[in-house]
Assembly symmetry: D2
Homo-oligomer: 147 residues x 4
């Protein structure tokens, strides 16, 4: 996958993977890190009844969990090695019920500054061999530098 972005830290994949592995919630919801490219990260979960709302669909907060991490790590790929990443806000639109067997959050950086990053995630639900867009997120992330 090509990219318009140039990573400032060549070890960005290892850095993202390590941080992802430290997010215990990712194991709790069985999330897998699929893609880590400059400015682009994909995270996937399988359908699990334990993560559903009253109609049997994945809860919007769980959808937000993988969309937020996808946004955050997409931004993190572009940060220098010494920075940490912090989400300051996000906005989610729920476009269709989160029904399916797998759910993939595709996060992409929209704007990369020194401190402020804007990233977007799409949530794609897979069912019957088809992918359907079920939610979208726009988030603002900050790079935090050691003092």
């Amino acid at each position: 996958m090509s990219s318009e972005f140039e990573p400032r830290d060549p070890q960005f994949k290892a850095r993202v993977t390590q941080s992802f592995n430290e997010q215990q919630v990712m194991q709790t919801i069985q999330a897998a890190l699929l893609t880590v490219e400059p400015g682009v990260v994909e995270i996937e979960i399988p359908y699990q009844p334990e993560l559903t709302q009253q109609d049997g669909f994945i809860h919007a907060g769980i959808s937000s969990t993988i969309m937020d991490s996808a946004c955050g790590y997409a931004a993190f790929t572009l940060m220098p090695a010494e920075a940490r990443v912090l989400t300051i806000e996000f906005k989610v639109n729920l476009l269709a019920p989160a029904a399916g067997i797998r759910f993939r959050a595709l996060g992409k950086v929209r704007k990369a500054g020194r401190s402020v990053f804007v990233a977007e995630s799409e949530l794609w639900a897979n069912a019957d061999g088809c992918d359907r867009l079920v939610a979208s997120m726009t988030g603002t992330l900050m790079a935090i530098y050691p003092k």
Copy 2:
């Protein structure tokens, strides 16, 4: 707790409680329904390492999970008995790290229409006997009526 809102269904508490119990994700994250009043719902989770991000704080998506349900059920208290509730979008601001021993989402209806509701949640973290505001949500909910 008094309220400016008049519920259209006197059985609103039973209706909210039943739906909450059907959200399997609420059991997964050990959420408890604390308050169900007209236009106001509170949901609480204890700190759990299984729900954390890389720094040991509750993940923003999990915070969103209880804030979204608090918004949704706050709206649901005001809907007629035959309606279902659907979140169409929300916006979250992360004001401080979600550190503490308990996290309480306080959801309140801001505007109640026939179809469209606007609700807000605050997320309060309890630590050392103090409550601290760590996140806020504004959400738009819809009442879905049978055809």
Copy 3:
């Protein structure tokens, strides 16, 4: 311009144009309707000192004015003839200072339902022959039907 959307009213261009002409604020800010296709609307304003904030850039609220109308009319192109369009909420990210000689809001429908539409706008600033993305909006619109 091709489109994935099929308009329900073949007179959608006339309907959008008439409504746009009734928005007096569009004349106040010298806005022009550039494109009206199924699910896609473009609106442009020239730079005007009368619309600036303290640093001489176009005020974020004015940027929002044309982005909101672009989202709303993009949704309106897909509504049946008897419907009115209403914005219920939007979210704006300001990616760069709104500096330039012309500002073009490109609105596109992301999801078209019977009642609820989600649309997105990008704001492109033109300066020195180049277009630069300076803001983005995600909005939720409703189709209001006569009773």
Copy 4:
């Protein structure tokens, strides 16, 4: 009006007033600065047909213009003298048609950091001697420091 916030610059009122006067769009829409207290700013406009959408209500973008400036200047009251203020994003909910004779945006700081501020605005429409809440905004602002 008392306040939980302590301004870092005792000249904050003069600083806000000067910047407000430099926003040319405020004169264009006949905006007046009503209140400037630590963490709180109010801005008002009279009804003007020149600022309306197709139904004769104030356009949501114009409502956003005074709500954004109210959020921004509320944050600005708490910044040190050398800082500039920048909006990075905001979210608007439109709760009712903006009908009335005067429209007052009340902006309040929700969280004041060194760099990142979160503020909220309410838009109150005055008609027939009554104030009615017609819109709300949550915004993220940054303090920009000279290098």
